[in-house]
């Protein structure tokens, strides 16, 4: 669906000093290579200024790459922008493609004409979105009167009316409350699995990734730091897991082989035992622990996705320093 090879994009930035104007070149995307198969759901994450939006703009053909090669659904985006636009959907969390003063339904009708969708397909797709996203009562409301959460549901519907095979979402859940986020994620997961729509989404909310994207791509300073299933990245970056035990009575932490670090809290009522996933299994550990102490409750904790990403950035930083 998407093929990107050695993609680069440079910007000239003016650095004015008095009346003299100098330019320096900033590389926003610096040799990015990846592939996305049809039907995948890929999370594209990185800190602000990492090059995410620049990549998205190049994928949709709005920005021309400085060098490198892109194919999206078989076409070169910047050369066949209009052709591609018919086949992909784009949602920008911070911008709107709906008509501000028109009711939602009128916006959808206009989009139907712009994308030349047949009346029958249009009705079918609209009905489906309206039902799943709960838009019934909102269709006659002018867009300017919708809440952000309502509007985002409208935006997603707008992007799906022409049944795109690829849906690109640039921070779709930004600014939404928990319930709206959850609803949106559920819907996106549904169209990904049921309709097979390929998803590529950028986000700062890592719950989006956890819920939606089996595959994660991390980018920073215009380079891909990591690319793979979330679980694998976790295992690769943080070899440690943690067993948290709550004791019935306060006491010292059990001494179990395989544990590399112990942290106690609540006056010895709770202990965090760190262990290496490659060397010890949680089951082994638990068997050992319950032999020694009386356990009230226990839990195995995976490192938070935030930690994984932070460690990825850190690793890159270390490499840069060493170089």
């Amino acid at each position: 669906m998407i093929e990107v090879r050695e993609l680069r994009r440079e910007f000239k930035v003016a650095t004015s000093k008095g009346l003299r104007r100098n330019y320096k070149t900033v590389t926003a995307v610096d040799g990015v290579t990846f592939e996305v198969q049809a039907g995948e759901a890929v999370g594209y994450v990185g800190p602000n200024g990492a090059g995410k939006s620049t990549t998205i703009k190049m994928l949709t053909g709005i920005l021309v790459p400085t060098s490198g090669h892109i194919t999206v659904d078989g076409v070169d985006p910047s050369r066949q922008r209009r052709d591609l636009a018919k086949r992909i959907g784009v949602v920008f969390g911070q911008r709107s493609q709906l008509w501000w003063d028109l009711p939602l339904r009128d916006s959808f009708d206009l989009l139907r004409s712009i994308y030349r969708v047949s009346a029958e397909d249009y009705r079918k797709r609209l009905d489906e979105c309206v039902e799943l996203l709960g838009l019934q009562e909102l269709l006659i409301t002018p867009v300017r009167q919708l809440s952000l959460g309502q509007r985002m549901r409208g935006e997603i519907t707008a992007a799906l009316l022409h049944a795109p095979e690829l849906l690109v979402l640039d921070e779709p859940t930004i600014g939404l409350d928990l319930e709206s986020k959850e609803r949106l994620r559920e819907f996106l997961a549904d169209i990904n699995t049921r309709r097979g729509t390929t998803l590529l989404l950028t986000t700062h909310d890592l719950d989006d990734i956890e819920r939606l994207c089996p595959r994660l791509m991390v980018i920073d300073h215009g380079r891909v730091l990591a690319d793979g299933p979330l679980d694998e990245l976790r295992a690769e970056v943080t070899p440690d897991r943690e067993l948290v035990i709550d004791l019935r009575e306060p006491g010292p932490a059990p001494d179990v082989p395989g544990v590399t670090a112990v942290r106690s809290e609540a006056n010895g009522l709770r202990h965090h035992l760190t262990f290496r996933r490659a060397e010890t299994t949680a089951a082994q550990l638990i068997t050992q622990v319950v032999r020694q102490v009386e356990v009230h409750d226990l839990a195995v904790v995976e490192p938070e996705i935030d930690d994984v990403i932070r460690k990825l950035y850190q690793r890159q930083l270390d490499q840069d320093v060493r170089r």
Binding site: F11, N48, G49, S53, K57, T60, G61, I62, L63, V64, S78, R81, R82, D83, A85, K86, V90, F92, Q94, R95, S96, Q97, I114, Y115
Partner: protein, 240 residues
């Protein structure tokens, strides 16, 4: 809408008063303008102003500045064509609310020079429509200049100040000294306003005027198309 109409009519009255006073001082005729022609010129001009929308809203320029224009650019449409269609639609509404009222007002209350032949009526409508297209072309170019300028308010302001004089709104172009008249008719500006008025008044050959307008409409839309293409290929869309 009512406020717009009232302002429009008040300005029309002022312009009529000044122009007629000038004509009276010049023994009732300047160039090819009699008192009736001058009245007609003013009321059609007042009507066309809102119909062709000589002074736009700079909305697209703001979208370029904020980066919202990405939304317009990734749609499977020709952006200039789509906006032109929207503007022609706006013209349909403005025909009823902006063009017709001052003309009718002038016809009923002032000496008015009606077209000598019936065919001038439809020709005037065609001419006004082409004028709208050219006016749109100018506004589009000024808007998309912000791809390079980021802030195009200077250019926008300059257009708002100078276009009235160049297009024949302030005074008829035939009042200009001969050299200025000749230079102006080599530019697209008279085609925006003076040409439809001339078609209505029967000043000059209407067919020639229409052909001239059509020529400029094609030229300015072509320039707009090429400029937009260049903007998208060479220039950066703002905002993350």
């Amino acid at each position: 809408m009512l406020a717009g109409m009232t302002t429009n009519v008040v300005f029309g009255l002022l312009r009529v008063a000044i122009l007629v006073a000038a004509l009276k001082a010049a023994n009732g005729e300047i160039a090819d303008y009699t008192v009736a022609a001058a009245n007609t010129y003013v009321w059609i001009g007042q009507g066309l102003l809102g119909f062709i929308l000589l002074w736009g809203t700079n909305e697209l320029a703001e979208r370029v500045r904020s980066g919202d224009v990405v939304v317009d650019l990734y749609r499977p449409w020709n952006l200039q064509g789509a906006l032109l269609a929207e503007d022609v639609g706006r013209g349909g509404y403005a025909f009823l609310t902006r063009l017709a009222p001052p003309m009718v007002f002038g016809m009923l209350l002032f000496p008015f020079q009606f077209p000598a032949t019936a065919v001038q009526w439809p020709l005037f409508l065609v001419s006004a429509l082409i004028a709208l297209v050219i006016s749109f072309g100018f506004r589009f170019l000024i808007d998309i200049s912000s791809f390079w300028l980021i802030d195009n308010r200077g250019l926008y302001g300059f257009w708002n100040v100078s276009s009235g004089l160049l297009c024949g709104l302030t005074v008829p172009i035939s009042f200009f000294p001969e050299w200025a008249r000749e230079v102006l008719w080599l530019t697209p500006f008279p085609a925006v306003l003076q040409a439809p008025i001339d078609v209505f008044l029967g000043h000059g050959d209407p067919v020639k005027l229409l052909l001239l307008q059509a020529f400029w409409a094609v030229v300015i839309l072509a320039i707009g198309h090429l400029t937009l293409q260049r903007a998208v290929r060479k220039v950066v869309v703002q905002g993350g």
